[in-house]
């Protein structure tokens, strides 16, 4: 029972017209490249180079630190300058490998482990693991782990998450318009790993040209179909998208595989295709540089590790002084206080806004209007959860399913009293998750 949408959600200002019509521009890094060892969920990667080593483009510089982990590759040729903690867009410090770019871009030779036709599903998964592919929509879950569920024959849908519901972001859209075959090929590879799977391209209906393009491309495919989903934030949240496409529900402690689904983002599937067919590791991604403060907002094909400041300079810098700079989109992104941070595997955008609508807001009294309840895609009562947090009542928070929150931000967005509902709930979730680990 696929409804094409979920209950709740919001319609924020989209802002996509700033960058959606400009072609992707490839940009080469100028300064040093920074490779944080934690660009994914799971154990940090372990460096296998030392200071002073010469590395080539596409050479592995850090190996996976465990089963749920991913290796990291150099995206330029040059010399390893240091291995030291650097600041990430999230504000956290992370041990990073810093490579001085020699400007030659000497590459290692890429070749697939086997010709594609001879590959078994295991070979394909290994190729994806070896290439360091992780979910590039934001979570950074290692894709190879996702592709290896306990019962592969129970997977019946592989969903390509092409909804791109986050305001301002157009990187997935541009990729769909410019390299649809690559994405489709990636999806086909993912589908071929599971004996009973079908592929779904879930595209929000505000991208009619992308929908038309993929309908045309898939008209002779019997295992791949296009599913237009309603334009609404957060349609592209994994749990919401599975519901929209299949009518199946999962909670925070389940994986999509538990209901027979695998969900992958556009860039991820493109990386899967490159990894399996060409043996190329994950080295680049599309990053949207946008916002009303940017002179020439557009999408860039970026070598991972490139400094955000370089991208911003290429986009013409600021036309007006931005009040807020966000790594990611305005709904789920992280506000950055410093531009000197590297792009990572999960860095989707840099949004520079001339207005800071939020920092100076004074929350006022809750008027119990229930708007947060109406918009919550997880069917929670954000108001009660936030009250529980303010009162330090862990028990009530957990009883009211506080851990199910997906931190999408809808409740804070809609709140007429301007309460920081998402922030409160998010904070408590962090505390609870830390307690679980103990």
């Amino acid at each position: 029972m696929a409804r094409g949408t979920f209950t709740g959600g919001i319609h924020p200002y989209e802002g996509k017209e700033l960058s959606k019509d400009k072609p992707i521009k490839a940009v080469l890094p100028k300064g040093d490249l920074v490779y944080p060892l934690s660009q994914h969920i799971g154990a940090p990667a372990k460096p296998i180079v030392s200071v002073g080593d010469h590395v080539l483009t596409g050479q592995m510089i850090a190996e996976a630190g465990g089963f749920v982990s991913a290796p990291i590759y150099a995206t330029v040729s040059g010399t390893v300058k240091s291995i030291e903690p650097r600041r990430l867009a999230t504000g956290a410090m992370c041990n990073s490998i810093i490579v001085e770019n020699d400007g030659n871009y000497d590459e290692v030779e890429f070749k697939p482990a086997k010709p594609y036709e001879e590959m078994t599903p295991e070979d394909k998964i290994n190729a994806v693991r070896q290439a360091g592919v992780v979910g590039m929509g934001g979570a950074g879950f290692p894709t190879a782990v996702k592709f290896a569920p306990k019962e592969p024959d129970k997977i019946d849908y592989v969903i390509a998450n092409c909804s791109e519901c986050e305001p301002y972001l157009t990187s997935d859209y541009r990729r769909m318009i410019e390299e649809p075959e690559l994405l489709l090929e990636g999806l086909k590879i993912a589908v071929s790993i599971f004996p009973n799977a079908r592929g779904i391209l879930a595209i929000e209906d505000n991208k009619p040209d992308a929908i038309a393009k993929f309908k045309e491309l898939t008209k002779d495919e019997d295992k791949i179909s296009v599913k237009p989903v309603r334009t609404k934030y957060p349609e592209g949240a994994e749990r919401m998208l599975i519901y929209a496409c299949t009518g199946r529900e999962i909670n925070s402690s389940m994986l999509p595989a538990d209901v027979g689904c695998i969900v992958d983002n556009v860039d991820t599937l493109c990386a899967v295709c490159r990894a399996v067919k060409e043996g190329r590791p994950l080295m680049e991604r599309i990053v949207t540089i946008t916002g009303d403060a940017v002179a020439d907002p557009r999408n860039y094909k970026v070598r991972i590790g490139t400094n955000y400041r370089e991208l911003l300079e290429d986009a013409g810098g600021f036309v007006t002084e931005p009040a807020k700079i966000i790594s990611g989109g305005p709904m789920m992104g992280f506000a950055v206080f410093d531009l000197d941070v590297p792009t990572t595997k999960t860095a989707s955008a840099l949004t520079c806004l001339t207005k800071d609508e939020v920092s100076a807001l004074e929350p006022s009294a809750c008027i119990n209007c229930a708007r947060c309840v109406e918009v919550c895609p997880e069917r929670l009562i954000p108001k009660n959860l936030a009250d529980a947090v303010e009162h330090g009542n862990d028990k009530a928070f957990l009883e009211m399913y506080g851990m199910e929150c997906c931190e999408c931000g809808c409740c804070s967005y809609i709140c007429p009293a301007r309460r920081q509902l998402t922030q409160l709930i998010k904070g408590m979730r962090k505390i609870q998750l830390a307690n679980r680990k103990k």
Partner: protein, 314 residues
């Protein structure tokens, strides 16, 4: 340019709706009923409305000043309370009634419990019920120069025939704002269109009430009898503007249905079985008191949580 910038937690954008513009729209939606009240009852009504709104706002201002709290009259919620109270008063009351009622509503019902969002009962109705109990004769004097008889609802109760058309338009005796079903529904349409109030509470309320009156009213499902019940008294004003008061209605989707049903049953009981002709105000404030209980038992299951999983978790 400075390199360090402000940060804050996501999301970094906000909707345009704020508490004060919601309250503003409620005031605007009450204008048709207010206007009709003034047209129907004349200058007396206007004076009562002005006194009531002004004293509600002033009471909030003085209380907050006196206690050194931030002054919140700018959110218009006190003005809404004052206006709703005025619409619930007969036009014949002496000048000090709206002042006393507003002050009681704001200070005793709203502010003492912590101000906006903390009151357990609709302030306007709390104020009205306080006045009803304290000054029953003044509060039920509906005899004006235009309308000399009892209210249509009282006639209905005593088996006297009423003119349903007049009741729908509002050309009858009653409190200032309750008489015109037409104007109230018009105002409610504005709120529905803007998504400020939702359909669930008013409609479950009215449907339950209709069924109750049909079964126990003594006239069966007689069209004009039921229409007279709907158009008479404070039912429309109560269902659309006071039962839907954010602060005192449940926020859970199921809770709203239960709340509407309880309202319908209580109003039906008071009107058909009670001693008075009217019962909307009491039905609403009693239901208000049940809200925490209703909410407690109607917390929805979160997305993806199955019934079985819930039991296991416990």
């Amino acid at each position: 340019m400075s390199d360090l910038r402000r940060v804050s937690s996501n999301p970094h954008v906000r909707s345009k709706t704020t508490t004060s513009n919601i309250m503003m729209w409620v005031l605007i939606a009450l204008l048709p009923a207010t206007g009709f009240g003034i047209y129907n009852f004349g200058l007396d009504a206007l004076i009562i409305i002005v006194l009531s709104v002004a004293s509600a706002v002033l009471a909030e201002f003085l209380y907050e000043k006196a206690l050194g709290k931030p002054v919140t009259v700018g959110d218009f919620s006190a003005a809404v309370t004052g206006l709703l109270l005025a619409l619930n008063l007969p036009s014949t009351v002496p000048w000090w009634i709206p002042i006393l009622g507003s002050a009681f509503a704001i200070i005793m019902v709203k502010q003492i419990f912590g101000g906006l969002g903390q009151n357990f009962m609709n302030p306007a109705l709390g104020g009205r019920c306080f006045l009803m109990i304290s000054f029953p004769a003044i509060m039920t004097n509906f005899i004006t120069d235009t309308y000399t008889g009892a209210t249509p609802l009282a006639n209905l109760k005593n088996g006297i025939e009423v003119n349903v058309m007049d009741m729908i338009i509002g050309r009858t005796g009653g409190t200032i704002g309750e008489t015109s079903m037409l104007c109230i529904v018009l105002g409610a349409m504005i709120l529905f269109a803007l998504g400020i109030i939702d359909y669930v509470i008013p409609f479950t309320y009215i449907i339950t009430f209709v069924i109750f009156v049909g079964l126990f009213g003594g006239y069966g499902f007689n069209f004009s009898y039921i229409a007279a019940h709907l158009a008479g008294g404070g039912l429309m004003l109560g269902a659309f503007f006071m039962a839907t008061d954010y602060v005192t209605c449940p926020i859970t989707p199921k809770g709203r249905v239960i709340y509407g049903v309880i309202l319908g049953l209580l109003t039906g009981c008071f009107r058909c079985l009670g001693a008075n002709a009217e019962g909307v105000s009491y039905a609403i404030i009693i239901s208000n008191l049940l809200v925490p209980l209703i909410e407690k038992y109607t917390i929805p299951r979160a997305f993806g949580i199955r019934k079985k999983a819930k039991k296991e978790a416990k």
